[in-house]
């Protein structure tokens, strides 16, 4: 990839559990002020915290441009409900929704539902892939022009433009079509943390944005090459994927750190790469890695969201913008546009109504 490829930046706004909407709205607006591509909000059934998708839906009308990417897990949830909820987030945000798919591997999570025992990660990631696939088909199950409001024939929709998806996976089937019309982005953006082995295959096959953890630019570049190769094996084009380096950042209270750079940090929940230093040095690191073609961008998880996100936006991002390495405004309206990803053609429309 050439060094002039646009840089993509995203930030996690979760942290210690909070239940007041103002907290999340404030952080999302701050990130939007920095013209970041999107914010993520992590979620799990296993630890205190609100439902992430609901929180970002609450945030949607209070923001205008920033992408909103909640984690929604696939192990104990219904794929049909998940796809409806994500499509709805896309409708209420007018095309800014994403979905970070994740799995629930623990026995504790399984006991909250009492429907099935815990299962190995590779099996659950295959199922997550099925959930993403069923979701994508449901999003396509209404063609964009299915609603016709044809007074002459009395028809509200053209039923030939609605499609049964008849999805059959290893652990579930879905008939379709969706109850939610095709969302503004066609398909909301799917994000997968592809760091772990079992997740990587699912990421290569289904994700639009893949997060990887790396401690050197070489490692990041290697992961990116690997992901693109695997994606190609699924028939996906080289431009279909954005690979972002996931970095936990602790911007402490120093403007610059005495020894800038990555450290292997304390064992954080998500594990992986950890940056401690100042906002200026973070900007240097981002520039260096991005120029070297190691990644399409970065997903930053501030260790203390209130403090560190402010430093990321007003320090790191401001500097990157000043150096013309990052945009100062949103040229488009949807998350796909921020990411430079095309609005997907509808697979059923492509079949010319044969489905």
């Amino acid at each position: 990839m050439s060094s002039t490829a646009p840089l993509h930046l995203a930030a996690e706004i979760g942290g210690p559990p909070r239940y007041d909407p103002g907290h999340y709205t404030g952080l999302a607006r701050l990130a939007e002020h920095g013209a970041l591509d999107f914010v993520t909000l992590g979620d799990s059934f296993a630890r205190p915290g609100p439902d992430a998708l609901a929180v970002l839906s609450r945030v949607a009308p209070a923001t205008g441009r920033i992408g909103l990417v909640p984690t929604v897990t696939t192990t104990h949830t219904e794929p049909f409900h998940v796809s409806s909820a994500v499509a709805t987030l896309d409708w209420v945000s007018r095309g800014r929704a994403g979905w970070q798919a994740d799995v629930s591997t623990t026995g504790a999570e399984a006991r909250l539902f009492g429907r099935r025992p815990a299962a190995p990660a590779d099996e659950l990631w295959r199922e997550a892939g099925d959930s993403a696939e069923a979701g994508a088909r449901l999003w396509d199950s209404w063609e964009d022009d299915a609603e016709i409001r044809d007074v002459a024939t009395g028809r509200f929709i053209d039923r030939d433009k609605l499609h049964y998806i008849d999805f059959e996976g290893a652990s579930f089937t879905v008939r379709g079509p969706a109850i939610v019309p095709r969302p503004p982005q066609g398909r909301p953006v799917i994000v997968v943390d592809g760091t772990s082995g079992p997740a990587r295959e699912t990421a290569a096959r289904h994700a639009d944005v893949v997060l990887v953890r790396a401690t050197t630019p070489e490692q990041a570049a290697g992961a990116r090459t690997d992901l693109r190769r695997r994606a190609a094996a699924y028939g996906r084009g080289p431009g279909a994927l954005r690979v972002l380096v996931a970095l936990t950042v602790d911007l402490g209270d120093a403007e610059t750190a005495p020894e800038p750079g990555l450290e292997s940090g304390p064992p954080l929940a998500a594990g992986g790469s950890y940056y401690r230093g100042g906002p200026v040095d973070l900007a240097e690191l981002i520039t260096r890695w991005h120029r070297g073609g190691a990644a399409d961008g970065f997903h930053l998880t501030p260790i203390t969201p209130g403090r560190d996100l402010e430093r990321i936006v007003n320090g790191t991002v401001a500097l990157l913008q000043h150096r013309s390495l990052f945009r100062t405004f949103y040229p488009g309206g949807t998350l796909r546009e921020h990411l430079g990803l095309a609005r997907p053609a509808n697979r059923y429309a492509f079949e010319g109504g044969r489905a």
Binding site: D20, D51, H81, T153, R155, G176, P181
Partner: protein
Amino acid sequence: MSTATRQMHLAAHFPGVNNTTVWADPRSKSQIDFSSFEHLARTAERGRFDFFFLAEGLRLREHNGRIHDLDVVGRPESLTVLAALAAVTDRLGLAATVNATFNEPYELARRLATLDHLSEGRAAWNVVTSFDAFTGENFRRGGYLDRADRYTRAAEFVATARELWDSWTPDGTPRSFTHRGQHFAIEGEFTVPRSPQGHPVVIQAGDSPDGREFAASTADIVFTRHGTLESGREFYADVKARLAKYGREPGELKIMPGVTFVLGDSDAEAQELAAEIRLQQVSPQNALLALEQIWGRDLSAYDPDGPLPDIDPGPGSSLVQGRVGPGDVLAVAARWRALSKEKGLSIRQTVIETTGRQSFIGSPRTVAEQLTEFVAADAADGFILVPHLTPGGLDDFVDRVVPLLQERGVFRSEYTGPTLRSHLGLAEPVWKG
């Protein structure tokens, strides 16, 4: 409180997936864009309504094996839209219809508690119990639930959700829960603290004896179709009488029929308008379809402006999927034929006569009077208004009828509290630690 000043409750049903909604009207806008939801919700809040209501359907309706294409179809997922509406409203309650058959208590209790936090105490859940295999084809378990089990599951579902909502102490400490029952065996820790209302408000919609019993034992509101004075009073008396055996007072359960309305400058003008709306709701195509739903046969060759078929309905029709069936079709057909003969009505006219759901038609003054009378006569505690236009269908009601209700002192002029429970005059549930 004397009968004359008894307060009524009002809710706004988002017009949508049904043939009440007139989509052919030039004023009809999107049923899916957020701006439509925002408009109706803001209007309802301007009118100081108790809550905003969303129905649910989990499979697109079919007719004769094909997707039904005449009525408005396509809607967003309720809880997600309501979370967004919490950002553009301050006081309005936000009620989502969510099926107890195709969800799990842990996840749904968490989503509802989250909505209650995000809206600062305005969440409500309308518990519905559709069970059919047709809907089940969209879900992991398929159509697994016997008709007889749907209310036992729903009742255990609500009870379990309340155990989860009570699992944090009021001072914010999570404690583990264990539930072992017929339908659920779950344990662990809930992730959301006790929410501003303690428990989101629970609404029930369903009419069978089991449904009424379920409502009496556990719901805060009943959403009913008994919208006429007579059947409303009957239903009201029946359901309220069931409360005592659960140790509940009549005021602890609000009965709110879903009703439509048509306003005009005069009663005569409103009647004229109502007739026009009926013609739009029952298009020639919709008339034949309504007929096919009773007859269970393809009747597309019939003229909607001609007479009813003289053949009898087919037995055990499964022509319609995704809708509650019409009951004894032979009896319905006989009734329709008699009516059509007596009044000389065509197919379309007969359908218009027999499927009418318009409840309140008249000048603002007439409608305000009728609504007041219904509440005074114990036919309802309030109304869930179903406008026929998206999203402006409530504008006239709020501008013209609400002020009259306020003048009469039967409806609030200002919200007196922040939560939906406070609008409804319901106490916060006691924490059962």
